[in-house]
C-alpha cells in the first residue's frame, strides 16, 4: 500500500525501500534452498568438477622438466636448436648439477619418463647417467661435455637436446598433439610416423561404433517403447519388468553371457551349425571384433533408449492417431506424420544418453572387443593404469569430452535441445 504517486523509490510500510525489504525477505528463502542442495553441490564439486578440472590441467601440465632441470633449461635459452652444433659446456655443466640434485631425490627417472614419451630412448640415457652422476663431485669434475658423452653417447645426439628445449616450458600441447597422432618437432607440428599412429583411428572407430550402437538401439527400442506405452497396464508392467531386468543383473554377468553366446564354440554358432546354416569348419566370428562390441553394447544400453522414448510416448494421446485416421490418413501416414514427429523428442533424449554412454564405455569393449572392437576409453584406461602416461590419458579424455560437447551443440542446432524430453 505504499504511495506510488510520490517520486523516488517505492517504500515499504516501515519506510525502507521496497526493493531492499523484498530482497531481505527472499534472502532467507534462498539461503534455505541453498542449504538444502549444499551436500549435493559439495559432492559434485569433489567427485566431478575437481577431477574433471584436474584432468584438463594434467593434459597440458609440463612443469616436471623445469622443476627437475632448472639450470639446464636456463642454460639452453641461448642455444639455437636449428644449429648443427651441440650445446656448449655451460649447458652440460648445468645438466650435471641438475642431474646430481635430481638423482639424490630420485626424481631424474620422472623427467626421463616424461621426455621418453616425446623421444623414445631418452629414458635409458637419463637413467644410466643419473646413477653415475650421483657419485660425481659436480664442483670440480669438469669438463662435463666430454665426460657425459663418454658416459652415454646419447648426450651427443642433437635430437635429444632439441627435445629438452622444445619441452622445457611449464605448459605443453605435446599430449594433445600425441593424442591426435601429431608431435612437436623442431620445425613445429609434424605427423607421427605411420607405425606410431593409433589415436585418430581409435577416436573415429569409437564415434562410428557408438553411432551404430545408438542407431541399433533406436531401431530395436522404438517398437518396444511403443508397446509399453500402448499396452493395457497389466501387460505393460510385465513388459517393463523385462526391460528393466538387465539393470538388476551385474554388467559383468551380462557381458560374460554374451561371450558364452557369441564365441565360436558358443551357443549361437552351435545352433547354426546344428541346423546346418553354417559349416562346422567355418563358424562365424561374432566376438572379439567390432560385431561383438556392437551386439553386447546395444543390449546393455537398450534400456537407456527405451525408457526416455517410453516416457515421451506415454504423453502422446491415442486420440491423435484416431484424429489422423478420421481425417483420412492410412495407418502408416497417421503414424509417420502424426505419431512419429511427436515421439522425436524421446528418440533425441535416448540417443544423447546412449551415445554419450557408449562413447565412454570401457568394460564391455574390453571384454568382448578383442583388438578390433576396443574403444578410445580402453586406451585411456591403459594410459592411466598401465603405462602411467597420465598426461596423454588426460588429453584423450579431454578430446572425448570436447567431442561430446560438440555433438551436443550440433544436436542443439539441428533438433533443438528444448526438444529433448524425458516425459
Amino acid at each position: 500500500m505504499s504511495d506510488t504517486t510520490q517520486n523516488g523509490p517505492v517504500l515499504a510500510a516501515d519506510g525502507t525501500p521496497l526493493k531492499r525489504s523484498l530482497a531481505k525477505a527472499l534472502r532467507l528463502q534462498k539461503l534455505r534452498a541453498l542449504m538444502l542442495i549444499a551436500p549435493l553441490l559439495l559432492f559434485i564439486l569433489v567427485t566431478f568438477i575437481l577431477p574433471v578440472g584436474d584432468m584438463l590441467f594434467r593434459s597440458v601440465d609440463n612443469r616436471i622438466v623445469q622443476e627437475v632441470l632448472p639450470k639446464t633449461v636456463d642454460a639452453l635459452e641461448s642455444w639455437d636448436p636449428d644449429s648443427s652444433e651441440l650445446p656448449d659446456e655451460a649447458v652440460f655443466a648445468a645438466l650435471a648439477v641438475d642431474m646430481k640434485a635430481a638423482a639424490e631425490l630420485k626424481v631424474h627417472t620422472r623427467v626421463a619418463k616424461r621426455l621418453n614419451y616425446e623421444n623414445p630412448g631418452m629414458s635409458s640415457v637419463f637413467r644410466k647417467s643419473g646413477r653415475k652422476i650421483g657419485k660425481w663431485d659436480v664442483e670440480n669434475d669438469g669438463p662435463y661435455k666430454e665426460r657425459l658423452i663418454e658416459l652415454d653417447d646419447g648426450w651427443a645426439d642433437l635430437e635429444l637436446w632439441r627435445t629438452i628445449k622444445t619441452y622445457s616450458g611449464t605448459r605443453t600441447a605435446g599430449y594433445f598433439l600425441n593424442a591426435v597422432d601429431l608431435k612437436l618437432g623442431a620445425d613445429g607440428v609434424e605427423v607421427r610416423p605411420e607405425t606410431e599412429r593409433i589415436y585418430n583411428t581409435m577416436l573415429i572407430r569409437t564415434m562410428r561404433m557408438s553411432l551404430i550402437i545408438t542407431f541399433s538401439c533406436i531401431m530395436l527400442g522404438y517398437p518396444v517403447a511403443w508397446l509399453l506405452a500402448n499396452l493395457p497396464t497389466r501387460k505393460a508392467n510385465l513388459l517393463m519388468i523385462l526391460v528393466l531386468l538387465p539393470f538388476w543383473t551385474s554388467l559383468l554377468v551380462r557381458t560374460s553371457s554374451w561371450k558364452i553366446l557369441l564365441q565360436q564354440q558358443g551357443v549361437i554358432n552351435d545352433v547354426l551349425v546344428w541346423i546346418g546354416l553354417v559349416a562346422d569348419d567355418n563358424r562365424l566370428v561374432l566376438i572379439n571384433n567390432e560385431l561383438g562390441t556392437i551386439i553386447a553394447m546395444t543390449h546393455i544400453l537398450l534400456p537407456f533408449m527405451i525408457l526416455p522414448m517410453y516416457s515421451v510416448m506415454q504423453t502422446i494421446q491415442p486420440t491423435y492417431l484416431r484424429a489422423a485416421k478420421s481425417l483420412g490418413a492410412t495407418n502408416w501416414t497417421a503414424f509417420w506424420r502424426v505419431y512419429f514427429p511427436q515421439s522425436v523428442p524421446g528418440i533425441g533424449a535416448g540417443s544423447i544418453l546412449v551415445f554419450i554412454l557408449a562413447v565412454g564405455y570401457y568394460i564391455t569393449p574390453a571384454l568382448v572387443g578383442g583388438t578390433k572392437g576396443t574403444f578410445i576409453s580402453n586406451l585411456i584406461a591403459y594410459h592411466i593404469s598401465t603405462s602411467g602416461n597420465w598426461g596423454l590419458g588426460a588429453a584423450l579424455g579431454s578430446i572425448l569430452l570436447a567431442v561430446v560437447l560438440l555433438l551436443y551443440w550440433v544436436y542443439d542446432k539441428i533438433v533443438g535441445i528444448d526438444n529433448v524430453k524425458l516425459g
Binding site: Q317, T319, Y320, R322, A323, A324, K325, S326, L327, G328, A329, T330, N331, T333, A334, R337, V338, P341, Q342
Partner: protein, 366 residues
C-alpha cells in the same frame, strides 16, 4: 424407434450390439435411423454406451453384431480413414507439432488435393470459424475456445457429409460453452451437414439438437425432439435424467377417460396422465416438473385433487424462486415460480396446498 421404415435414412444402426469382454453387452440391440441433415445428440450418463456407438460409427470400434449403414451402404468393414466422416474429439486432438494451417491442410493432403486448392479451402475453413489470422500459430498458443474452433474447422475442411462430435465442449467454461453451442448449431444448419453429437450435458443436448437419443444401460431409452423429451418423458429414467423433476410413489387406483387416479403411499389421491401404467393395482412413479406445480388456489381448476405441503426452504435465484417442500413424505419436492411482481414469496414453515393439471403429472414405471 422413430421411423424404422424410412428408406431415406442416411445413418442407420440396425440391431447393433457391442461387447468388449464377451460377457457384458455395452450396447444392446441398438436401432437408430437418421435422415440427412439432422442434428442428433446422444445423451446419457457415463458408461451408458453412447461413446461406444459414436466410435463404432467412426470405425474405431467394430460392432459385435448388427449392421451400421451410411447412405445405404454397410460400413462395418470399411476402415476409419475411408469412411469420410469428420470427427471432433473431446480434447480437440490438434496435432501439436503442426501449425493451425498445417493441421487443416492435413486431411486435404492425404486426399492428394493440389496445393493451391488446399490453401483456398484452408482459408475458407478458417474464415468460417472466424480464425482467419491464426493459420501460422501452433495449437498450444491458442485458448481452449480457439482450439475448439480449429478442431471444428479441421473436421469440416474436407467437406464430409457426416460429422461426429464427442463431448467437444466439455473442457470449456460455461459462458464459452453456451456461445459455442449456438455457433456449432448454426454452422451445422448452414452447411446442411448431418451431425451426431455426444454429450452428458442435458442442457447442451436440449439447446442444440433436432432430436435427442437418451442412452442408459446400452439402450436408447427415448428418442425424441427436445421439447417432447422434456415434456413427455416416456419412462422414469428419462424423466429423472432430463431437467429437474419431482417424484412421488404410489399405486394406481383406477384409470378412466385417460386419467389415472393414483393413491400415494401416504394415502393421498392425485390425478395423473397414465404413460406406462395400464391397470389398477400397478405400482407407479409419478413425475411432475417443478415449474408446473401451482400453489395459488385461484389458478387451480375446480375439483382437482390437491396435496398439503409444508415449506422447508425458500431460495431466491433472481429470475425464479425455488422452494423446497415436504409433500407426502418427500422432503425434496421442488417448485419453481417466476419472479413476477404479484408473486407470493413463501416462508419456511408455511402450510400450503399444491396442485397441477392432470396432464402435467405423468404416471410412469415404478
Amino acid at each position: 424407434m422413430a421411423d424404422a421404415s424410412n428408406n431415406d435414412a442416411f445413418v442407420e444402426f440396425e440391431r447393433v450390439q457391442k461387447s468388449y469382454d464377451g460377457e457384458n453387452l455395452v450396447v444392446k440391440d441398438l436401432n437408430l435411423f437418421m435422415p440427412r441433415g439432422e442434428f442428433l445428440t446422444m445423451l446419457g450418463p457415463s458408461g451408458s454406451g453412447k461413446t461406444t456407438c459414436l466410435m463404432m460409427l467412426a470405425g474405431f470400434e467394430t460392432a459385435t453384431h448388427g449392421d451400421i449403414r451410411l447412405g445405404g451402404t454397410s460400413i462395418n468393414n470399411i476402415p476409419p480413414h475411408k469412411r469420410g466422416i469428420g470427427m471432433v474429439f473431446q480434447n480437440y486432438a490438434l496435432f501439436p507439432h503442426m501449425t493451425i494451417a498445417e493441421n487443416l491442410a492435413f486431411p486435404l493432403e492425404v486426399r492428394k488435393i493440389g496445393k493451391s486448392d488446399r490453401e483456398a479451402k484452408v482459408k475458407r475453413a478458417l474464415d468460417m470459424v472466424e480464425m482467419g489470422d491464426f493459420g501460422g500459430r501452433r495449437p498450444s498458443q491458442l485458448s481452449g475456445g480457439q482450439q475448439q474452433r480449429i478442431a471444428l474447422a479441421r473436421a469440416l475442411v474436407f467437406e464430409p457429409e457426416l460429422v461426429l462430435m464427442d463431448e467437444p465442449l466439455g473442457a470449456l467454461d460455461k459462458q464459452l460453452r453456451e456461445k459455442m453451442q449456438f455457433e456449432i448449431t448454426h454452422l451445422a444448419h448452414r452447411l446442411g451437414i448431418t451431425v451426431v453429437y455426444v454429450t452428458h450435458d442435458q442442457t447442451e443436448a436440449l439447446t442444440m439438437s433436432d432430436r435427442v437419443a437418451v442412452f442408459e444401460d446400452g439402450r436408447i431409452q427415448q428418442l425424441a425432439p427436445p421439447d417432447k423429451l422434456y415434456e413427455e418423458p416416456q419412462n422414469s429414467f428419462v424423466a429423472q435424467f432430463i431437467g429437474e423433476n419431482n417424484t412421488l410413489e404410489g399405486t394406481v387406483k383406477e384409470i378412466s377417460n385417460g386419467v389415472a387416479l393414483v393413491q400415494l403411499d401416504g394415502g393421498e389421491l392425485i390425478d395423473c396422465k397414465p404413460i406406462n401404467v395400464t391397470k389398477p393395482g400397478e405400482r407407479t412413479r409419478v413425475s411432475i416438473r417443478p415449474e408446473r406445480v401451482e400453489y395459488n388456489k385461484d389458478r387451480l381448476a375446480e375439483g382437482v385433487h390437491t396435496l398439503k405441503a409444508e415449506v422447508l426452504e425458500f431460495i431466491y435465484m433472481g429470475d425464479i424462486f425455488r422452494t423446497r417442500l415436504r409433500v407426502a413424505g418427500n422432503d425434496e419436492f421442488i417448485i419453481k415460480t417466476r419472479n413476477a411482481p404479484d408473486q407470493v414469496r413463501l416462508k419456511p414453515g408455511q402450510q400450503i396446498e399444491i396442485g397441477w393439471l392432470p396432464e402435467d403429472c405423468r404416471a410412469l414405471d415404478a
